[in-house]
Amino acid sequence: MKDFKSRLFSSEARLSDLITAYPSLLSLLTRLDISLGFGDRSIADVCEASGVDTGFFLLICNVYTFNNYIPSTAAILGTDMTGLVPYLEKSHRYYVDKRLPHIERHLDAIAQKLSGRIGQVFISFFKEYKKEVEAHFAHEERDVFPHIRALMTGERDKTYSIGEFLHTHSDIEGKLDDLLNIVFKYLPPQVDDDNVLDVVYDILRLSEDLKKHTFIEEKIMVPLVKHLEKAVLS
């Protein structure tokens, strides 16, 4: 833990250097309202021009990049978190509208090559998973996010308590890892084509992304909301 401080990104760095070093952060930019074409400007400058809080941007980038980095409650409370719920919502849309359909197209092509019933079982496994993910996100958008929004405006919202969240927060990456194993280990050799390789990369990327998403919800959102609940109710 001790040398994290020296490794975490600072606002003075060029955004392009950050992306060159950690290209996977590219997928975060649109979700954080930053468009490409930022040239050689520093992280602070780009954030300011895009209306994104620099501290919040760095917090998310640091969490995505450094696996063992858990921001302290003090660091969370010291950051402007108004962007958190919009960011989480945009991430949901990114997964549901972009990543999952993309993966599904590849899987459909793979299923075509599997004999009848096996192809059906294979694709319905994914469709079931997709439904679970959508239900998971819908619950958060219906119950959890409005609660946070209310608390952030100082409203005493007692309809929901974040204590319930951890109890019911289910794992949405598990089945994706099952799918990954099925696709790259157990598909018969005759379906070995570009779709298989493409979808393996896509699943790996989505799985990593979802793990970070869960991490942000459990290690940043929950402590923040617990604090807000206490502050607003006292």
């Binding site: 009848g116 496994f125 927060h169 289910s170 598990g174 099952d178 799918l179 018969p188």
Partner: protein, 189 residues
């Protein structure tokens, strides 16, 4: 792989004691404890623990909790508990047990460890038999009855299947079974 351990116990004192005993044990990851059984089923689905260490007075029918999850149930007792109740559990921890005995008991119900020593990654005949039944939608209890083994044995087979294939969900294992021609299409639904 660390064993995910869920403590279900109303006494904060006992919870803290157990946590301090388990603290620093690389074998176990202690999950946020439950102080009542009110939301236990949802919690089990969400947290998918490997071991549940539970005060048996909280739940009437613990076998129901297993659902289709490979789960070891350990009773946590601090007074006399009827034998009939305890037979639903895979092991018993008495709060008067020493630290070493508690750790040993928990280690024995965690089947993941046993498997690590095995060299073959192929499913054994027994594991294949369990897999086929799982893919047909049978519960652990039904599989145990069909194969004439204990539920605990079925759970350990399931852990090994998951350990070898990397696939956890029953739905995923069904796809695996089909792709490997272990079940034919007509046996599904």
């Amino acid at each position: 792989m660390k064993q995910r351990l869920l403590i279900v116990e109303p006494s904060e004192l006992i919870i803290e004691g157990l946590k301090s005993i388990l603290d620093g044990q690389i074998r176990f990851k202690v999950l946020e404890p439950e102080m009542s059984a009110d939301h236990l089923e949802e919690r089990l689905l969400a947290a998918h623990p490997d071991i549940v260490l539970m005060n048996p007075t909280l739940v009437d029918n613990p076998t129901r909790l297993r659902g289709d999850q490979p789960l070891a149930l350990v009773a946590l007792v601090y007074q006399y508990v009827e034998r009939d109740v305890l037979k639903n559990y895979d092991a018993v921890v008495d709060i008067r047990d020493s630290r070493a005995v508690i750790l040993e008991t928990l280690a024995q119900v965690s089947p993941g460890e046993v498997d690590a020593s095995k060299s073959s990654y192929e499913l054994t005949k027994r594991e294949t038999a369990v897999l086929v039944q799982l893919a047909q939608g049978k519960t652990n209890k039904e599989i145990a009855d069909a194969l004439n083994v204990s539920v605990h044995t079925v759970i350990s087979h399931r852990k090994n299947i998951t350990h070898k294939t990397g696939i956890k969900s029953v739905a995923g294992l069904t796809v695996y079974a089909m792709l490997n021609n272990l079940i034919d299409e007509s046996s599904l639904l």
